[in-house]
Symmetry: C2
Subunit: 378 residues, 2 copies
């Protein structure tokens, strides 16, 4: 089994170009990581994903633990075997759901068996107990179970179990949550070490909320640990883009020079273009796939020009008789075969093919952008 | 441009095996014709359709006239160019919508611009005027426009404009409607002859309702005309399967021996298996694709055994942890790569990939069934 290796091929003020080697293949960085939360890349077959080609996808241990459930994922031999995706996978730890399902006010509730019940049943310094909105069963996430789940999932890159801190959390709360994240990281490292025959990588996650001192302390702590990579978490949970960049600026000087750096949940085009300069290697974001399913398509020209408005809405009537391809600079399957008018028609008629063609296009533009960014790092 | 040619390769009591040659390729018959009403094969890319492989699809002039509209279809160079489907296409005339949108009681209405308006504005011996539910505009179907629309669509096989008669229509109504269909056929033939540089075929449609004398007279009339093929219409509009078979039995002795015969809108597995014996060559039906999108999958074994129950519902909980493939006798993309448990998970989570994988499978089983039927005609 191939070892997990990160090589920095070039470093400059504009960012760094590198290569991550995993058991499922290599990833040229900087790379965009399309999100395949539930073990499926949003309307694409593995064959279509390979044709783009996608280098790496992001799956989610919380969602996979709910459906199809860890027993089934295990029976199926992990997410690669289950999903037919053959390229490297990166996995979230469940820590994001402490934020997304918990919120400070705990008002979010699931309707389970006719009753309103909270998504998070219990949260302590040791663990978080979630309730499945599907069947009401509880599921416990802590460093031990999160690593166990990710081991079953079989991702090439694990995330340590962390607490994603809500935006504008006060210093006291952010401090306590960050301490938890650090304790959990230590436990995850020892848990991961126990059994890692497939040389999967573990990334530690930097938290700290919006507070400079906590962010710096967290970056220093995580960088010192025996992890194979570092992720920056909790920078895209409700704050402004300016604030998001500030938080990344706090931690940038402390990021390790010899380990890959992932930015969790950030990857709009303007973000990526700006943030590679801080030495960030990989970015996951739902935007290209989610927008595609609403008919919002990327324009390569606008993306390459880093225009503020890099998308257009194919559902608008102005495209109803437009015989041109979606994007003359793009050579994806969609742009090689179909007109704007046809894709407009598919969306108007809610034909499934529209969602697939739009997704192929948006992900292809992202790949082209990342290729361009990499080529500029020479 | 290749001529439209039909060859009978073998004829027996069990049916006939043949070959239809068109400008877009040949079709081995008996063949199943998956329905691509709006110029898209329901969740599949043209590449995926070609991989099954699909021999022939059925598109609909009424639906394409509404969206994307004939001006756009023409601008895009016809449905082959628009959709990327490269194999032969067969086109409906709009006549089915006289039944499906008109019904005897005319109670069906569309909500257009906040008002309830009938789908059919006017119906005379000369023409039918439909109202678009999308924008309220009217669209006229008569022999001249139907042929013109189909010419723009560019199908390899046209249907003459006919009136599909509702089930249990009394003799008087069925007689008048059938006379209209015959008059319209004569007009369609002369309209089609005027301009047919691409050697597209025109099929005449047998109507007659449920009345033996009208069915026989219609079959005789249509068989005598200068058409390249014959279709049997209006046998699947609400009557029982027994009545449907009776109507086909009425016309079977009068079907031409040297022209291909299509059965409109019929193609459940038991129907096909029974009806090839009457010399029917092609069958279109929405069933395999429509069922697929609800998670109802075909079992090759049950299909080949002609079992009454040839489907199973992948959404049922019993498949949640079933690691076996959908169908061990099937070698389609779905069955070569995925487990029942994974497809169950995709449907439970309403992930788009589920609909695509299920559609690939059901259409692959149909193709395997037709191949088996053809091989048994030796």
């Amino acid at each position: 089994m191939k070892k997990f290796v990160f090589e920095v091929l070039l470093k400059s003020k504009k960012g760094r170009r590198g290569k991550i080697t995993t058991a499922h293949g290599t990833i040229e960085t900087p790379a965009f990581v399309p999100v395949a939360t539930k073990g499926t890349l949003k309307g694409l077959t593995p064959q279509q994903a390979a044709e783009i080609p996608i280098q790496l996808s992001f799956v989610n241990s919380y969602h996979l633990a709910l459906s199809p459930g860890m027993a089934t994922v295990e029976k199926l031999g992990g997410v690669h075997a289950m999903s037919g995706l053959t390229y490297p996978l990166m996995c979230d730890s469940g820590g994001f759901q402490i934020f997304s399902l918990g919120r400070a006010d705990s008002k979010q509730k699931a309707r389970v068996r006719g009753e309103e019940e909270p998504f998070i049943v219990k949260k302590t310094d040791e663990e978080v107990i979630f309730r499945s909105p599907y069947n009401g069963e509880t599921i416990t996430f802590n460093p031990k179970t999160s690593i166990a789940f990710q081991r079953i999932i079989g991702a090439d890159i694990f995330m340590a179990f962390d607490e994603c801190i809500y935006a504008y959390a006060p210093h006291k709360y952010a401090h306590e949550a960050t301490k938890r994240t650090h304790r959990w990281l230590t436990q995850c490292i020892s848990e991961h070490k126990k059994d890692n025959p497939r040389n999967q990588a573990l990334y530690g996650v930097i938290q700290g909320g919006m507070h400079e001192d906590l962010r710096i302390a967290s970056a220093q702590f995580v960088a010192e640990q025996n992890v194979q990579g570092v992720a920056i978490g909790g920078v895209s949970v409700g704050e402004t883009k300016k604030e998001m960049r500030e938080q990344i600026g706090y931690v940038a000087p402390y990021l390790p020079s010899d380990k890959p750096v992932h930015l969790l949940g950030v990857g709009q085009i303007d973000d990526i273009v700006d943030l590679v300069q801080w030495g960030i290697d990989t970015f996951d974001c739902v935007e290209p796939t989610r927008l595609a399913r609403t008919g919002v398509l990327y324009s390569t020209q606008a993306v390459f020009k880093r225009s503020d408005s890099y998308t257009f809405d194919i559902v608008k009537n102005k495209y109803a008789a437009d015989t041109s391809t979606v994007d003359k600079l793009c050579s994806c399957y969609t742009c090689s075969h179909f007109s704007k008018a046809y894709i407009h028609h598919l969306f108007k008629q809610r034909e499934l093919l529209g969602y697939t063609l739009a997704t192929i296009h948006n992900l292809s533009v992202m790949e082209a952008l990342m290729k361009k960014i990499r080529s500029e790092l020479q």
